[in-house]
Point group: C2
């Protein structure tokens, strides 16, 4: 309805940089919001495999943290005049596909998925926060400061893979598959949503930065596999 052209400072390539008014910011928040809700339901589903009450409680606490992140993003969207539910629906298929293609078949697979997923989300939040204007970065950092609930995974996975080479090989493959599916779905999302590509491209060095971003994700993923005793 609003045919007013964007303010010149947003489109002038000389001044570059992203402003909080960039339409990609709304899309980014909507994508992340759906990611949190999808993670909530998947964690609680996968927690059914827990061998005991303590495991189920740890997973429930992580799931609850996802909803706290969701609320930060929903409030940020509301401040931008955007209703979160319709805005996030368009990202449902990519996130549901990721979870459908990475349904764990054992409690250990569920634990590794939780840890890897939480870590990838944290990396992702940190990367984008650096590239965004302060006002937007503050929202992203508020969400990030809430991650790190998955430390309980490390002891349990390390114990299992120390006791069994077969488990170590299985879980190492599983962990690589998780990263691969995450990258695949991230690329589908970018291919379908020009505003998001534009947001990443205009914040810093563009395409080079995007390649480096995926490289960095792979390196930090390798570090996490080592923490879990999988590499």
């Amino acid at each position: 309805m609003n045919a007013t052209p964007p303010a010149p400072e947003q489109t002038d390539p000389a001044t570059a940089g992203v402003t909080a008014a960039h339409p990609g910011v709304t899309e980014l928040f909507a994508l992340l919001a759906y990611g949190e809700v999808a993670a909530f339901y998947r964690l609680t589903d996968e927690a059914r495999m827990a061998p005991n009450l303590r495991g189920r409680i740890n997973m429930a606490a992580m799931a609850a943290a996802e909803m706290n992140h969701y609320e930060v993003l929903r409030d940020a969207l509301e401040r931008r005049g955007v209703d979160v539910v319709p805005a996030m629906t368009k990202y449902a298929s990519a996130l549901e596909n990721y979870h459908r293609l990475t349904t764990p078949s054992t409690w250990l697979e569920a634990l590794v998925k939780t840890y890897v997923g939480d870590a990838l989300a944290a990396d992702f939040y940190l990367e984008i926060a650096d590239a965004l204007p302060d006002e937007v970065a503050d929202v992203v950092r508020a969400v990030l400061s809430e991650t790190g609930h998955s430390q309980f995974v490390v002891a349990e996975v390390r114990a299992a893979v120390t006791a069994s080479d077969r488990q170590r090989h299985r879980l190492a493959l599983w962990s690589r598959r998780l990263l691969g599916e995450a990258i695949t779905q991230a690329q589908f999302v970018l291919a379908d949503h020009d505003e998001l590509v534009d947001l990443v491209m205009s914040s810093g060095e563009g395409l080079t930065q995007m390649t480096e971003f995926f490289d960095r994700l792979q390196r930090t993923h390798a570090a996490r596999m080592q923490e879990l005793g999988l590499a």
Copy 2:
């Protein structure tokens, strides 16, 4: 292992009153803690019946609030030197039985259960907070201040029962059944746990107070049914 008799001020009927050292306080916190975890998993299960994403998000937000309550109770137990998981396990059967016997078969039944359950929990927290020493009451009130996430239910249930007398009758019966099962399970818990009975009996007027407590629960339940358009 500890054969020391309780300190005289705890057992002297003349001074009455409950101290924070009463063993029933630990049992109460453990019972409530299991209640929060059970509610978390049931809400997320029942949310699967939601007709849309907004409904699923509302249920997820309520479930996340239950885990925040759980954490308040766990911390309070830790301050008392009690490990929450073993302490709460003995209350599993009563709470799981309540949920098993009140499994909703429609989304509207799930909404009513959420609302009634949240309200009963709030009543219960408020009643016991008044009867407890300040230090303990503060914990209970911190949990209570977090309830009230179920207001989203009212509009949806009222609309459905205004449109259909059949729905109103069905849901009114359902709502009475929820209260009945909650009272039945509460009585089983009291019958099995003398420390809890002693806690309630010694805080105020004892048995009379307990009867009045259940009477008040029924009255506030009737008020809630009216809010929902069921009475």
